[in-house]
Each structure stands twice: as C-alpha cells, then as structure tokens.
C-alpha cells in the first residue's frame, strides 16, 4: 500500500485533501499501467484522470480500506477497457472511410517509419502491441496485468471477482494465441 488506511477513510468521508494525497501517491503507478495497457501515450493522462474521477465518485462504495488497491486496479482495467473499445470503433470508422489504395499507402508509410526507427525499445513496444492484437481487448488487459504488471492470480481474482481456475483457463488460452502469433512473427523474421 502506498498510503495508509486512515487517509483512505478520510477521503471516503469527503476529505478532498486526503483524496488529493491518494491521487499524488498512485498517479505514477496508474499512468504506467495505463501506458502499457492502451499503448497510446497521447491518451494516457486522459484515461488516468477518468480512473481517479471514477474513484472519487465511488469511494463511498468501498467496504473497507483494505481492498483499496484491487478496487483501484479494477477501475483502471475498466477505464482502459472502455477506452480500447471506443478506440476500436473509431478505427473501424476511419478505415471504412478510406479507399483500398489509401489503406495500402497508409500501411506502407507506417512500415517505412518503422524501418527508420532506431530505438530498440520502440521496436519491442511495437512487436508486443502487434502480438497482443491477436487477442481481444479483455484478454489483452488480463495478459498485461499478469505478464507485464506482474500481478498474482490471487490479486487478479480480487480484481475480476472470478475464481482462480476460470482465470487460469482464460490466461492459458490467451497466452496460447499470443504464442501462436509470436511463432508466426519469428518465422517471418527468419524464413
């Protein structure tokens, strides 16, 4: 816990100073998680603000300060999921507006930029983002929380409020799909 229970209880009672302190304590961590979940740096702050906005208006529903962190994770996951769904709709709309030739030109320009990209980290980000394109938004978030954020199954159980076995099955299937995509991408690199 980055803050003590007393601070959370004060915020629950409507103390704005206490709430401000909670945001300051968790802001960086939440921004990091959202950065990795949505992979669009320009929208990270907007989504993070949405998380804290939801937290502000739902703090009174929190039964005990002990479950604060899973609660905050849950809000983060939901906000990221909502964002990804909206984003997918927007992308579908944008792509449907373009002609086939325009889409091909857009793809060529994107790959051209990638070729000139020298930063190793950017390549890693791109390859992971593309691999995670093989699974749904919900599975992408679940995999990210487990594999990248390093959350345990127990923690995920608290966030998703489903039993461990169901989570294991879902994680296994999502990971298998990503592994398959990973295998194909490696084959393309080394024919």
């Amino acid at each position: 816990m980055l803050v003590d229970f007393e601070l959370i209880e004060r915020a629950q009672k409507g103390d704005n100073v206490a709430f401000n302190e909670i945001v300051l304590a968790y802001r960086k961590r939440i921004l990091g998680t959202i950065t990795r979940l949505i992979a669009r740096p320009e929208d990270v702050e907007d989504v993070a603000q949405e998380v804290f906005l939801r937290l502000y208006f739902s703090l009174d529903q929190l039964r005990t300060a002990m479950v604060f962190e899973p609660w905050l994770h849950r809000l983060t996951v939901n906000a990221a999921y909502d964002y990804l769904r909206k984003q997918r709709r927007r992308q579908e709309y944008r792509m449907s507006d373009l002609s086939e030739q325009q889409v091909m030109m857009a793809d060529a320009s994107a790959s051209g930029k990638a070729e000139h990209e020298e930063q190793h980290q950017k390549k890693i980000r791109e390859s992971v983002d593309s691999l995670l394109g093989a699974v749904s938004e919900a599975d992408r978030i679940l995999l990210m929380l487990k594999e990248v954020e390093g959350l345990s199954l127990k923690e995920l159980e608290k966030i998703y409020k489903v039993n461990e076995n169901a989570l294991k099955v879902r994680l296994f299937r999502a990971r298998q799909r990503v592994l398959k995509a990973f295998g194909s991408s490696e084959k393309r690199k080394d024919p």
């Binding site: 401000n20 945001v23 300051l24 802001r27 960086k28 961590r29 921004l31 990091g32 950065t35 990795r36 740096p41 990270v44 702050e45 993070a48 603000q49 804290f52 906005l53 502000y56 208006f57 190793h120 980290q121 950017k122 890693i124 980000r125 390859s127 992971v128 691999l131 594999e147 990248v148 954020e149 390093g150 990971r175 990503v178 592994l179 990973f182 295998g183 490696e186």
Partner: protein
C-alpha cells in the same frame, strides 16, 4: 558475446522467449511522470461532474415537488362537494317519465297491413 547470446536465445523455448519479450516490454515502458496540468484538469473534471449531478438532482427534486403538488391539487379538487344538476331518480323512473303510458306510439295496437299483390 553477441553470438553467444543469440545461441542462448535460440536454445530457449518460444514460451521463454515470449516471457523475455514481456519483461523487455515492461522495461521499455517505464511509468511516466504526470504533466503539470494533471491535477488541475482532474479537479476541473470532478467539479464539472459534481455540477452536472447537482443540477440533475435539482431537476429531479423539482419534478417530484411538481408531481406532489399536482396530486395534492387534484385530491383537493376531487374532494370539494359540488351541487349536482342531475336528479336523484333511478333510470327506470327517468325512462317512465320520458315515455308516459298514454303515449299512443308505444301503447297503441300494432296495425298490420296485409296486402295481396296477386289479387
């Protein structure tokens, strides 16, 4: 060293290589610092939402008050005793009055006119 690392990577299973890629991804995406506008924008959004919720609650209250006043008004209106213009006689009495016994069209014998078109 590089070729050796390449050999090590080649010896790993795809699952291990994927784990390594996830770890590299975690390092490639460090937690970013918030911009200077993060907190002011957040409080602005909170206040905007509060204002919206407050006006929504006020509208709902006004609606409930108006509905209560209307029901009360209707109740009062219905409870006021009013002079009735209609008579207290029963339907049968009213019918009898409208069609008195001496009315010939009702009480007169029925005249059947039998005509024989053949004769």
């Amino acid at each position: 060293m590089e070729p050796m690392r390449g050999n090590d990577e080649a010896r790993q299973s795809p699952s291990q290589r994927l784990d390594a890629l996830f770890r590299a991804y975690r390092d490639a995406c460090p937690d970013p610092e918030a911009s200077a506008n993060f907190m002011p924008n957040l409080w602005q959004r909170i206040e905007a939402r509060q204002t919206y919720m407050f006006s929504l609650r006020r509208m709902a209250n006004a609606f409930v008050t108006a509905a209560l006043a209307l029901s009360l008004g209707l109740g009062v209106y219905m409870s006021i005793p009013r002079s009735t213009t209609y008579s207290s006689e029963s339907y049968i009495e009213a019918l009898a009055e409208a069609n008195p016994l001496e009315t010939p069209e009702i009480l007169g014998p029925v005249h059947l006119e039998i005509s024989d078109p053949g004769r």
